[in-house]
Symmetry: C2
Subunit: 389 residues, 2 copies
C-alpha cells in the first residue's frame, strides 16, 4: 500500500541512520508528517493530534505511534510490521492532564532507551514546547538534541520515483493554471475561479487524480495582490485587475508549485515593464543553474539579471520543496538568498519564486526545477509571461 | 475589511484581557492563526512562517507582527492602526541563526516589557520549542506562563454574527454533501468525487462563496473506512463499498462539519444495524442536550442510548469547533467524553461525531450544533441515515 517499494524506504532509513550516527543521536523522534511519510509511507490527515515515528540506531524498523483510531491507517499505508504500530487511547487527545508524549516516553522506557541521546524537531509545526516538557518530565535521563533538519536534509535529493511523482504533479498544475486563466473574466467571483482551480487540482488527468496541496490556492486580485498569501473572496473580477495565481499540483503529496499573473484589460506600463524584467531575470537565472554552485550564487545571478531595472526584491527568490503536508510545501532547508551556502546537487528540487509585491499590486512568475547532472530542468511547460484577458 | 465590526473585536479583546488579568498575564503572545484572526481579523495563508499578535493588559490595541511581505495583508485584513503592524525582514525566515521570536522580543524590549509575565501557547502547532528558547534567551527576566487555552476558551461562545457565518457554512456543507452522494457510483474514481466536493465547498451558493476548510475532505472507501482520517485515492468505487464522507463548509473560516456514510449495493445486515443504532443514539443525545449539563453527561447519554447494542465507541463523541485554520477545525477546549466537566452554555458550538471504525469498515453520521437557551439547535438540515446507492 505505500507508494514506494520497501527497498526505497530502507535506503532512506539507512541515510537517516548514518546522519543520526554522525550527529550523536541514538533515537530520533520524527514528528513532521512529511518525515513520517518519507520514512514509513504513513499518510493520513491525523497530524492535528500528536503522533510520530521513532527511528533507532540499533533497531531495524522504526515504530509508528499515534491515536488508536488512526492505527489502522498506519496498517494500511506503511510498510511496518504489526509490532511496530502503536496506538494510544483517546483520553490522551487534547487533555490537560495526559499527553501523547507521555505515551511515547513509555515506549522508550519499555525498550530501554530512557537515557538515550534523543533527537527531536525543535522548530516544526508538530512538536510543541509541551511535547518537550512531557519528555523531560518522563525521561529525566534523556539527552535532547535538535534534529529539526535531519530528515529534511535527507529528503532534499530526490529519487527517480520521487521525481516521477513530481512530474505527475506538474502535469496537474499545468492543467490547473490553464483552467484558472481561462475562467478569470470581469464579473466572475474569485471564489468561483478558486472552485475550478480546486476541481482541476484534484481531478488531475485521465491517468491519475491529484492530492490536496500543502498550501491552498493563493489567488488575490486588485489591491490584495500587494501582499503575499491572500486567498480569494466573494469579490467579482473587474477590468483593470491584476490577479496573482500561486497554485500547485500534488501527487502522493509530492508537489509542483507554479505562479503566474493575469491582467484584465489594457496592461499599464509599469506592470508590463516589471513583468518583462522578472521573466527575463527568471530565464537568465535558470540558464545559470547547475550542480556545484551555491544557493546564494543563484540569488546573486538573479539580482545581477534585474540590476538597473526598477524591480526590487527584498525576500528570498526560492526554496527547496517536494513532499509535504499543510501548511507548507517548502522543505525548510535551503533558500535561494544571500548567505545560504548550500551547494546544488543533482536531484535537489527548488521553487524559483521571484514574487514582487508593491504598494498597490504585485507580479509573480515562478518555476519549479530539479538540478540535473549538467544544469537544471523545469518540471512545468507553461508560457512565462504576463497573461492578458 | 475585517469581517466583523470593530466593536466586536473590541469586545473579544476585553474578555481576553479580563482573563489575562485573572491568570496573572501582562502580555499575551497569540500564535495560533485562529487566535490572530479572532483578535484582529488577520487572514492569510502566512502561518507557515512564525507570526503573532501581542495583547497588552495596559495598551489598548494589540500589535501584529509577521513577515514583511505579509504586512500589507495585515493592513488589508485587520482593524489595527499602522503603528501596530510590524513586519520582519526576510532573513528571519527559516534561518539557523536568527529567529522571528528574536524580532518579537525586540518589540517587547522597545516597549519596556522585558520583565513581564508573558503568556504563550505551549501546545499548538504554531509555537515551537525553538520559539520558546528564543524568548528565554532574549528576555531572561520574562516570566513565562502557559496560555494555550486562553483565547480558545473565549472563542467558545459565539456571537450572533459568528453564528451567522456558521449558518452560511452549513448551507455550503448541505450542498457539498448532496453533491458527494450524487456522484458516488461504481466506476467513478474517488479523486473525481473529491474534486466535485472541493468545487462545491468553494463555489458555495449564489449569494456567497466558501473558504478552504481546516481539514481536507475525508472520504475513504472499502477497507480504508476502517480508520479515521484517510482522504481519497485513484481507486474506483465498486459495488459492496462503504464510503465515509467527513466534509465541511467554511465561511470566513467559520466551519460546519458533517459526516455521512454511503453504501453501494445491498446493505449488509451488520452495517444496517450499526447505522440504526448510531442514528438513534445521535437523535436521543441531541434531544438531551441543554445548557447547564456537562460535556461528560452528553457522552454518558450517548453511551446509555447505544447500550445493549453491538456498537462500541472508545473515542470521544464530539468536540468544540468553530473558527479555524488547518490542520483542525476543533477548538481544542471541550470534548464530549468522560471526565470533561465543561458546562454547556448558550452559544457554544460542538461537532457531535460518533464515528465508528471497525476492523473492516466504518460508519459515520454526525451533527454540528449550537447550545441554545433551552436546548440545542443543529446547523445542518440533512437526513440522518445510511445512504444507499
Amino acid at each position: 500500500m505505500p507508494v514506494f517499494e520497501k527497498k526505497e524506504y530502507k535506503k532512506r532509513l539507512k541515510k537517516v541512520k548514518e546522519k543520526m550516527d554522525r550527529d550523536g543521536i541514538e533515537v530520533l523522534l520524527a514528528s513532521h508528517p512529511a518525515n513520517l511519510n518519507y520514512l514509513t509511507g504513513y499518510d493520513g490527515w491525523s497530524f492535528y493530534v500528536h503522533q510520530g515515528v521513532l527511528v533507532f540506531l540499533d533497531r531495524e524498523e522504526p515504530i509508528w505511534f499515534g491515536r488508536e483510531q488512526d492505527s489502522n491507517g498506519a496498517r494500511l499505508t506503511t510498510w511496518l510490521k504489526e509490532e511496530n504500530i502503536r496506538g494510544y487511547q483517546d483520553d490522551y487527545v487534547q487533555s490537560l492532564t495526559k499527553h501523547p508524549m507521555d505515551y511515547m516516553s513509555d515506549i522508550l522506557k519499555e525498550l530501554g532507551y530512557e537515557d538515550c541521546y534523543l533527537g527531536v524537531e525543535m522548530d516544526n509545526y508538530y512538536f510543541t514546547p509541551r511535547c518537550l516538557n512531557s519528555i523531560k518530565n518522563n525521561l529525566n535521563q534523556v539527552k535532547i538534541k535538535d534534529a529539526n533538519q535531519l530528515v529534511p536534509l535527507v529528503r532534499q535529493i530526490k529519487s527517480s520515483q520521487e521525481l516521477k511523482y513530481m512530474h505527475m504533479a506538474a502535469e496537474i498544475v499545468e492543467k490547473t493554471m490553464q483552467k484558472a486563466i481561462d475562467i478569470i473574466e470581469p464579473g466572475v467571483r474569485e471564489g468561483d475561479a478558486a472552485a475550478e482551480v480546486f476541481k482541476a487540482q484534484i481531478s488531475g488527468t485521465k491517468e491519475f487524480t491529484g492530492d490536496y496541496t500543502a498550501i491552498a490556492p493563493i489567488m488575490p486580485s486588485a489591491e490584495r495582490t500587494s501582499t503575499a498569501h491572500l486567498t480569494w473572496t466573494d469579490r467579482k473580477y473587474q477590468k483593470g485587475d491584476v490577479v496573482l495565481l500561486e497554485l500547485a499540483g500534488s501527487k502522493n503529496k509530492y508537489h509542483a508549485p507554479l505562479s503566474r499573473t493575469v491582467y484584465i484589460g489594457n496592461v499599464p506600463e509599469d506592470l508590463a515593464e516589471i513583468s518583462k524584467v522578472v521573466v527575463d531575470g527568471l530565464n537568465k537565472t535558470l540558464a545559470f543553474i547547475k550542480p556545484g554552485i551555491t544557493c546564494e550564487e543563484v540569488e546573486e545571478k538573479w539580482r545581477e539579471s534585474i540590476s538597473g531595472s526598477k524591480v526590487v526584491k527584498e525576500s528570498r527568490v526560492g526554496y527547496a520543496y517536494g513532499l509535504n503536508y499543510p501548511p507548507d510545501w517548502g522543505e525548510h532547508t535551503a533558500s535561494l538568498r544571500p548567505g545560504d551556502k548550500t551547494i546544488l546537487q543533482p536531484g535537489m528540487t527548488f521553487h524559483f519564486m521571484p514574487g514582487i509585491w508593491l504598494d498597490k499590486f504585485g507580479f509573480e512568475c515562478s518555476e519549479p526545477f530539479v538540478v540535473t547532472e549538467n544544469g537544471c530542468e523545469t518540471f512545468v511547460d507553461f508560457p512565462r509571461k504576463l497573461f492578458v484577458k
